[in-house]
Amino acid sequence: VNPELCATLPLHSVQLPVRAQLLAPEANAVDSIRGNLDILSVDKQHVMIQVQGAAVVPVSMATVSDDRTVFSYTKLGVAAPDGELALGELKPSNNDIELGAVRERLAFFYYRSGSTNLLRQTGQSLSGIFNACGIRLIRPCLSLMPESIPISSQSGEMTPKHRSMLSSKRMLTPWIAAW
């Protein structure tokens, strides 16, 4: 500020020439608009007030709700839900497949050890709640077996048919092993 020059101003209002520059925003300068401003004397020969780097700051910062949606794209999607596309090409890994078989086998292991313990401790054979559960558990598994093939031979030994089933039908492996 040049106070002497300012003091020469008349008491009534006058138009003063102004020289201003708006500065190009710096990258990521989201918070202000910057510029330089000179207020000159009436004859433009002297600078009365010189402001460098004046920053105009918004009263409140822009938020998500002030965002503009200018760009868009068209996406095609199935018109009705589609299970094949929802699962895609995913397949269980070998580890998953093995784990699935082991899980079945474990289930039979605990079933068998549970029923044996019960028999030993209570003297009741497959009675009460466990009895009910047990029958429920075994029947559907038996229903997986082709009816023409006996579960085991009279002696309890595995027949050659069993062995071939064990190798060919993975589904049956765990429960036969548990049996």
């Binding site: 095609l76 839900p81 589609d82 299970g83 784990l99 699935g100 559960c133």
Partner: protein, 852 residues
């Protein structure tokens, strides 16, 4: 299985309940989210829900038996915010508090309410026919009567709405019964035909769904392994008479009037003629009168007002490929007199003339609101499409009749699509979605936009905030800059730029050359996951790249620090590091000093540093400091970062007034700077550092920050702190605005078409500010102020104006030849040419159409 197996006896003896064993340590919760196959099917459910929300982005969703939110998590994370409301229900309200916390991102749209599927919804304060989608993941099976439960669920849905189930559909598995058999709910279906397990196979679901007001199993995930993945995600649509008709319009009757007049257009080629014949045969059963015409022109003479039209002519002869005044008139007549029009095109996305019709019809929809219009794009061959086309036409016709008669009230969930695409036996509907990447980039000019960016697909760079703290930015372009040669993927880098030579600060990093996948040590000017380094040398030093880099960085810093020191000097180094870093830098300093015959003394203000270092405290009297300092010190290297050390270094400076002082800002900076001209010298420096490092690999683990730690960093940080770019897949970044400084080349030309007006001139000024020096502005009738053109001389830029009609090929070739003769090669073209003569199609002349 084990938890249940081992605790079953105690549960059977009523010493405990099974559920408490199963819930212990969140086991059951984890089971439902991540047990074998669960995650895959939870994600599939999420994807199926997102298929639905694509079509209905403002759906009201209802989840039954949400429990701890095992499925909700996957659903909400997949669909984001594309829904109106999500009613989160369970029979018990005990889960809601935790769920509200877990899903707080969606808190405005979540409604928590208890709901029992075995009771009628109205009796529980729910309104009938309110919801668009109901999700039930592993829950519905726990019921005494599946039919009753499904009927209750059906009451909540609008007709046309969907039920999506995730269920175990291999009911013969022993594992699930052994796991859940201890819970009474597992046996709830005993009297409901499900005695062994409450779960059901798909065929049973299909039957009971059909009995309960659903379409049956509408679509389901394919079975991939019955033991490991015994699940299915099932979708079923809630049906009434209207929906049943819309699902199979050829086999059901609607309450709407039959099509009185069907006109089929197209069939000049054998392929299309066959399709038209088939459609006519099928339509004969459903319509009162069917007429076929080979093309539009022959069809216009026998137009029946209110007719329904299936137009196949674009399949053989696209309208806009060979538009004639006659064809245009015929199209006008057709549009004006038809009630319903199905326009069939093929492979529109790949064929501009076909796509032009799609765009044209988009305008017509607004110009003729009474016309029921749809474009069907056939994208996978024309084999056996006649039935499809007829079905689509029937739906379109019926929907427009329903709409007219008010039958399409609020209680039907169905959309009348204006465009459909048929590909690989599925119909697809287009939706316009915001493009978040571009919008974020633009909005970053107005506010600081933060997001999580993937390191695989984004360019992420560490730069500095005004306050000196590092910040991660998502950079718009991967540019070579001036120095770049071959690109590198960074494994580990220094956090700060290290002083390499006087005035030159660069980032040191170890990474993989992208073209050869070779390990390299690099000096770069940017600190990012991918960069074009200034120089690289290959390395074959085995082991952790961070260990290697920490020693190389120490070697670099030591070399730079001692570079100005002369033989015979005695150097005092204050605070050569903290923690494990001290060893690398202090050792490198000692090694290089003894090789070059200097003496190095280290000092510190901390008690826990190396005991051989001089210990000085900020509380000491200056007299004592003077006494402790060795005599004959010639150079003082001040590496203090923290406040306490800085106080001590001020005391040392006072005590050694005549000694040459070098401060840390000469050794490292937050970002790179300086000119690098002598690449040979940089390579030899890099090789020296690598050789030195190879012999003295770090015995201490260096301080390494992952990217998320970088943003949380609190100063002071030692400059040799390393950044591990491989520890995380995503990083929290600030979206960077576009810095156009490197966007344009001074030695290339840019052609701006139809851009001589204000927008073009403004663009031109911006391009010149950002480096463009040869710009040609063109339009048909340019009128540009010569003074404005001359103003660019000050920048050394040449901006010229040419008259050019971009619709005339010869004219364009001539202008391009002119540019090639007189200017550098054309690097970029911007096109904004268009003719705007606003008029309705019904009043548009052929000339107006072809001109624009």
């Amino acid at each position: 299985v084990r938890t249940v197996g081992e605790t079953l006896p105690s549960a059977v003896r009523r010493q405990s309940t099974m559920i408490e064993h199963m819930m212990k340590d969140g086991l059951l919760d984890e089971f439902y989210k991540y047990a074998l196959g669960f995650q895959v099917y939870n994600e599939s459910l999420g994807r199926m829900v997102s298929q639905f929300t694509h079509v209905y982005p403002r759906a009201k969703i209802f989840e039954v038996g949400a429990g701890t939110g095992g499925a909700t998590k996957f659903v909400l994370e997949t669909i984001g915010n594309t829904f109106s409301s999500y009613t989160y229900t369970d029979i018990s309200s005990g889960y809601f508090e935790k769920a509200a916390e877990a899903f707080s991102d969606w808190k405005d749209k979540l409604i928590f309410k208890s709901f029992d599927t075995e009771r009628i919804p109205e009796s529980q304060d729910f309104q009938e026919s309110t919801y668009d989608l109901i999700i039930a993941s592993n829950v519905l099976h726990a019921t005494e009567s599946m039919e009753k439960t499904l009927k209750n669920v059906r009451r909540l849905l609008k007709p046309g709405g969907y039920l999506m189930l995730l269920e175990i559909t291999n009911h013969k598995l022993a594992a699930f019964t052994s796991m859940f058999g201890g819970i009474s709910g597992w046996w709830a279906g005993c009297e409901d035909g499900r005695p062994y397990a409450p779960t059901m196979p798909l065929e049973a679901w299909n039957t009971v769904l059909r009995q309960s007001g659903f379409s049956g199993v509408g679509s389901t995930t394919p079975n991939r392994d019955q033991l490991a993945w015994p699940f299915s995600v099932i979708s079923a649509q809630a049906v009434d008479n209207r929906i049943n008709y819309l699902r199979k319009p050829l086999y059901r009757s609607s309450n709407a009037a039959q099509i009185s007049q069907l006109t089929i257009i197209g069939g000049k080629s054998l392929e299309v003629a066959k399709i038209a014949e088939d459609i006519a045969d099928i339509a004969g059963l459903r319509c009162q009168s069917v007429d076929s015409f080979a093309d539009l022109i022959s069809a216009q003479s026998s137009v029946v007002p209110g007719q329904t039209v299936i137009c196949l002519s674009d399949l053989e002869d696209p309208m806009f490929k060979s538009l004639t005044p006659e064809k245009m008139d015929a199209l006008k007549i057709m549009l004006e007199h038809s009630q319903t029009l199905l326009w069939v095109g093929r492979d529109s996305r790949d064929h501009p003339y076909q796509q032009a019709m799609v765009g044209f019809l988009r305008c017509i929809i607004h110009e003729m609101p009474d016309l029921s219009l749809q474009h069907l794009d056939i994208a996978s061959g024309l084999k056996e499409v006649s039935t499809l086309i007829m079905e689509v036409a029937l739906r379109l016709d019926t929907l427009s009749q329903w709409k007219a008669s008010g039958a399409l009230d609020q209680q039907l969930l169905y959309t009348k699509e204006t465009e459909l695409m048929f590909q690989l036996e599925s119909l697809y509907a287009p939706r316009m979605l915001p493009d978040p990447t571009r919008n974020d980039r633009m909005n970053s000019q107005r506010r600081s936009v933060a997001k999580d960016a993937s390191l695989k697909s984004n360019l992420i760079s560490i730069s500095e905030t005004g306050s000196g703290l590092p910040v991660l930015k998502d950079v718009p372009f991967f540019s070579k800059g001036k120095e770049g040669k071959s690109a590198m993927e960074t494994c580990v880098s220094t956090l700060s730029a290290l002083g390499i030579t006087a005035g030159l600060y660069l980032l040191v990093s170890v990474g993989l050359a992208i073209s050869t996948s070779e390990a390299v040590i690099a000096l770069s000017s940017s600190n990012s996951n991918k960069s074009y380094p200034v120089v690289t040398i290959p390395t074959d030093i085995p082991g952790d790249p961070a260990d290697l880099l920490s020693v190389i960085a120490a070697e670099f810093m030591a070399a730079r620090m001692l570079s100005t020191v002369v033989v015979g000097a005695k150097v005092l180094v204050h605070k050569p590091g903290t923690g494990s870093l001290e060893s690398s830098l202090a050792q490198a300093l000692r090694r290089q000093a003894s090789a070059r015959k200097f003496e190095v003394i280290s000092s510190t203000s901390r008690a826990d540093d190396d005991p051989s270092w001089l210990r000085l405290s900020p509380w000491m009297h200056d007299h004592n400091i003077k006494r402790l300092l060795p005599t004959g010190v010639t150079n003082f290297l001040d590496l203090a970062i923290d406040d306490e050390s800085k106080e001590v270094s001020a005391l040392i400076q006072q005590a050694l007034p005549s000694v040459q002082y070098t401060g840390s800002k000469d050794f490292w900076r937050a970002t790179s700077s300086g000119l690098f001209q002598d690449q040979e010298k940089l390579i030899s420096l890099l090789k020296n550092a690598a050789t030195g490092a190879g012999q003295h690999l770090a015995s201490h683990k260096p301080t390494e920050l992952s990217l998320s730690q970088v943003t949380d960093v609190k100063p002071p940080l030692h400059p040799a702190t390393l950044v591990d770019w491989t520890a995380e897949d995503t990083a929290p970044v600030i979206v960077d605005t576009i810095d156009a400084t490197h966007l344009f080349s001074a030695d290339k030309s840019y052609l701006m078409v139809g851009l001589t007006g204000q927008i073009g001139q403004s663009l031109c000024e911006w391009m010149v500010r950002n480096g463009a020096r040869n710009i040609l502005l063109t339009s048909r009738h340019p009128s540009v102020d010569q003074k404005w053109l001359d103003s660019f001389r000050a920048y050394g830029a040449k901006v010229a104006v040419h008259a050019m009609d971009v619709t005339s090929k010869a004219n364009v070739i001539q202008v391009v030849n002119d540019i090639q003769a007189s200017s550098p090669p054309i690097m970029g073209v911007a096109n904004a040419a268009m003719v705007l003569k606003d008029t309705l199609f019904s009043q548009m002349s052929y000339e107006q159409m072809t001109e624009s």
